[in-house]
Amino acid sequence: MTRMTTEQAIHQALAEEMQRDERVLLMGEGVATKRPDLVQDFGATRVRNTPLAEAIVAGTAVGAAASGLRPVVDLLFAPFLAYAMDALVNSAGKLRYLSGGQFEFPLVAMSMTGSGWCVGAQHNHNLEAMFAHAPGLKVVMPSTAADFKGLLKAAIRDDNPVVFFTDLGLLHQEGEVPDVADHVVPLGLAAVRRVGADVTLVSYAKTVGVCLQAAEQLQAQGIAAEVIDLRTLKPLDETTVLRSLRKTGRLVVVTEASGLCGMAAELAALAATRAFDVLRAPVVRLTGPDAPGASSWVLEQAALPTVEAVVEAVQGMLVEVAVGREALAAS
């Protein structure tokens, strides 16, 4: 294992994949400036600064992907994806299908989002659900350095368009990354970060940490929370979530993104449609508010689901259990 930050893990993934496959190229506003070692190792042809024009950067990736290259584009902050929407949603996501399968679009569109930098809603907008809702795309949003590396490598190797989100609050967070020659984490598999039988906490990105802390506190109260890190939002690993629900019968979904039609809605819907018979309590959604991100530190913080809120939600769900236990203890 090697300890490294998310940023370093991403960089390693890019370097390794460019080394492995010469069809991989990196494009974006400042990618060459920010990664001079890649320019040196792979040449200015494969590491390209672009004009400030997300629509053509993304569109060029789509055209290149369908023509034999495997582009990775860095689109910087998630709200800028608004300019890349046609390329990603209407072209990359639809033209394989509309053409009857004539084209493949092996491309990765990277962007950052999330609270932590006080930059406000035009830089901080957790809009991953918009891409999950769009057909033909895959969506990834890891939470650990190892996954950033392994999932980015898998995304680059995937023959489908992948939108890869980096929670900017995790950029400088360190984690252990396996030292194996080729650390690849397959898309579409959630990770059970902590095993528990009383309640299932489902999350992804920065809020996985919130769930883990909450689980720690709950443990002290004798409540065993299972924590699932989705990692890939699309395709969604329903199996892992449902397996956990069959065990716990309780679901709390925790996301920084807002709730309405968000991933939290999808998870709650999954429970309501496919795990109803095992559910023992109302599902709880703890999400960011349905409001743009504010810049002010206190407002940015106030928008986040907290450890306390998770703990409280779980306690609320388990009231009957606790009451039951007390009764047992008293008897």
């Binding site: 569109g59 290259l69 046609d86 084209f103 679009f105 579409g188």
Partner: protein
């Protein structure tokens, strides 16, 4: 005109007749309840002139008004019609319908009906070509309209092609219409060539209703791109003789303007030219028309006989099968 030139010119006339007959058949189908189409009636010379100047190693991107480009490239009218009718034997298995037909086997790739979509992807196709993914020496041509030139992506594509020195031919078919809006309501006169010129690449404006003029201009720019790998811009001045999307009563079209352009029908122009040169007589022309009509009748039969897609295949082709490559 040399003998070889005349043969080529005759071939171009036949291609235009084939396109016209194909689209007229689709209009007939539409009247019978089939989905409508954006016809290129009046613009056949653009497609035939430019596509004829390309080689098989070149790639083409087109748009909602693609039939002429596809047929000029040698697409099978039967498979095209099957696609329009939503049948399995269509180039896209019926998933596309008329609006986004690609035929990768012919080098017609990534057709987009989002106006500007083709412009957004064309630099990427050209970049792949430049980076060695296509056939050696191939170039890319992207077809779009005067309306698409109003989308910002037009400028982004031009700038990237210039900046990255991409082997890309921009072909603007300026047909004076953007669906139900006349070009004059959307831009100054001559704007398109001025805008393109602002990007610093060579720009040529040509009579898009004269197939020989189009062809000559296209041959020159294609050769130039192949020689230096740099982008070029070709504006073809033409006119949409039918409506935007069938059926369209064109009540909003100025009758005089339409009549002026009808008098400049590119098929008639080419026929007249060849008749005048003696490359053709009335009987030959009749034969040509008959041959074309027979092909289209056969195509129509083929398309109508083609099966509907199996509803159980509804979600096939959303994703590439292979998830992760090693």
């Amino acid at each position: 005109m040399s003998a070889a030139g005349m043969t080529d010119a005759l071939r171009r006339l036949e291609a235009m007749l084939l396109i016209r007959a194909y689209e007229e058949k689709l209009v007939e189908f539409q009247r019978g309840g089939a989905p409508g189409t954006c016809t290129s009636v009046g613009q056949e010379a653009c497609a035939v002139g430019v596509v004829g100047a390309l080689e098989s190693r070149d790639r083409i991107l087109t748009n909602h008004r693609s039939a002429a480009h596809l047929i000029a490239r040698g697409a099978d009218p039967g498979r095209l019609m099957a696609e329009v009718l939503g049948r399995v034997d269509g180039y896209c298995g019926g998933r596309s319908g008329s609006l986004h037909i690609s035929a990768k086997e012919l080098g017609v790739v990534l057709t987009s009906t989002i106006v500007g979509g083709e412009l957004s992807m064309a630099p990427g196709v050209a970049l792949a070509q430049k980076m060695g993914q296509g056939e050696p020496g191939g170039i890319v041509a992207v077809f779009f309209g005067d309306g698409a030139a109003c989308e910002g992506i037009f400028h982004e594509a031009l700038n990237l092609a210039v900046q990255w020195q991409l082997p890309l031919l921009f072909v603007c078919e300026n047909n004076d219409w953007q669906a139900f809006v006349h070009r004059r309501e959307t831009m100054p006169d001559n704007a398109i060539a001025d805008w393109a010129a602002g990007h610093g690449l060579p720009v040529a404006t040509v009579d898009g209703n004269d197939v020989e003029a189009v062809h000559a201009a296209a041959r020159d720019v294609v050769a130039a791109i192949r020689a230096d790998g740099q982008p070029r811009f070709l504006e073809l001045v033409t006119y949409r003789l039918r409506g935007h999307f069938e059926p369209d009563d064109q009540v909003y079209v100025d009758a005089d303007e339409l009549a002026r352009w009808q008098a400049r029908d590119p098929l008639q122009g080419q026929a007249d030219r060849l008749l005048a040169l003696g490359a053709l007589d009335a009987a030959n022309l009749m034969q040509l028309r008959d041959r074309v009509a027979a092909r289209i009748e056969a195509a129509a039969r083929f398309a109508q006989a083609s099966a509907w897609p199996d509803p159980r295949t509804l979600t096939h082709h959303v994703y590439a099968e292979q998830g992760a490559r090693s």
